[in-house]
Amino acid sequence: MRWVLAATLCLLPVLGVAREATPAAEDPALEQRLMRLAKELRCLVCQNESLADSHADLAADLRQQIRDQMKAGRSDEQIKAWLTQRYGDFVLYRTPIKATTLALWFGPFVLLLAGLAGLLLYLRRRRARVGQPGLTPEDQARARALLREAEQGSSGPDAAARG
């Protein structure tokens, strides 16, 4: 049995088992880390693209720089700091949390809570307003008088004419 298996294995190359393609990057794990970081960085010469997606020359240069730094053992935070020292916060797509960006990071939650709170307040105020009786005593008296008039009118001589 074993020799049948061995013979088959020897025949495999002849049968044309395809050659598996090699990854484009030299170090796929590093490349994955690079792309994950690059997705959070901005291409400076493009019109709103990330460093990962951009085809621009500067983007390729920066990706290479980052690759070299990663190989040298720098952490993501260190690389981001290195970039912001040279290009400012503009290069970070994941907006840093600073005093001036608190409104950005907490804004949505504040908006949501404010909206829901406003809704609650409105609903409560509405119940109070709508809960009041519709007619004042004067209006009620007027309504009664009008109804009496209508009743008397329908049985009177003008009823037919009024229809």
Binding site: L44, D61, T84
Partner: protein
């Protein structure tokens, strides 16, 4: 009192409008440099005219100087080149060139064709020094003072207006101190 509540949307809109109005005068593609006010990043690059010799940033201490990032393939550089040539003739402040991502032969030919305003030019073929300086486009120009601190960055071509209104006054001020 109640009716004032209904003015809220309009008021919010007016605030938005004001921001948009100011926004019209800004350039969203311009990236200001965080290096202004910081020491100029050190470099040691081969000179364009004599590759055997190098130029380092510390060689230029003690004087106010301009660093102009240029390349032979850069179209906008043609715009500012006459201004720089004229500036170099006046001898007010030395201009050093950083030849960015270029080839020596093409760069030299470009200078021969269009005039050479640079006291010296250095070659940065892989753009590494450019990245250290936060260069993201060409041309860009830096004003560096006597102690080696970057005082101003001009993004885009240096026009006559920029020169007379921004760069030269600053240079004179730095030279006096």
């Amino acid at each position: 009192m109640k009716s004032l509540r209904f003015l809220l949307p309009l008021l919010l809109f007016i605030v938005l409008l004001m921001f948009l109005w100011v926004g019209l005068s800004l350039n969203p593609r311009e990236v200001p440099s965080p290096l202004v006010g910081k020491p100029a990043p050190p470099f040691q690059l081969a000179r364009l005219d004599d590759p055997a010799k190098t130029l380092a940033e510390k060689d230029l201490r003690g004087q106010v100087w301009l660093l102009n990032v240029w390349a032979s393939w850069c179209v906008s550089c043609m715009e500012e080149h006459p201004v720089l040539v004229q500036l170099s003739k006046q001898g007010v402040v030395p201009v050093y060139g950083l030849n960015y991502k270029d080839q020596r032969a093409a760069a030299q030919a470009w200078l021969d064709r269009n005039g050479d305003p640079y006291t010296l030019s250095m070659a940065d073929p892989d753009g590494k020094v450019g990245i250290e300086y936060g260069v993201y486009g060409v041309p860009e120009t830096y004003v560096i003072d006597k102690t080696g601190v970057i005082r101003y960055k001009q993004i885009g071509p240096v026009t006559q207006k920029v020169l007379s209104e921004r760069i030269l006054p600053l240079v004179r001020q730095l030279q006096a101190s």
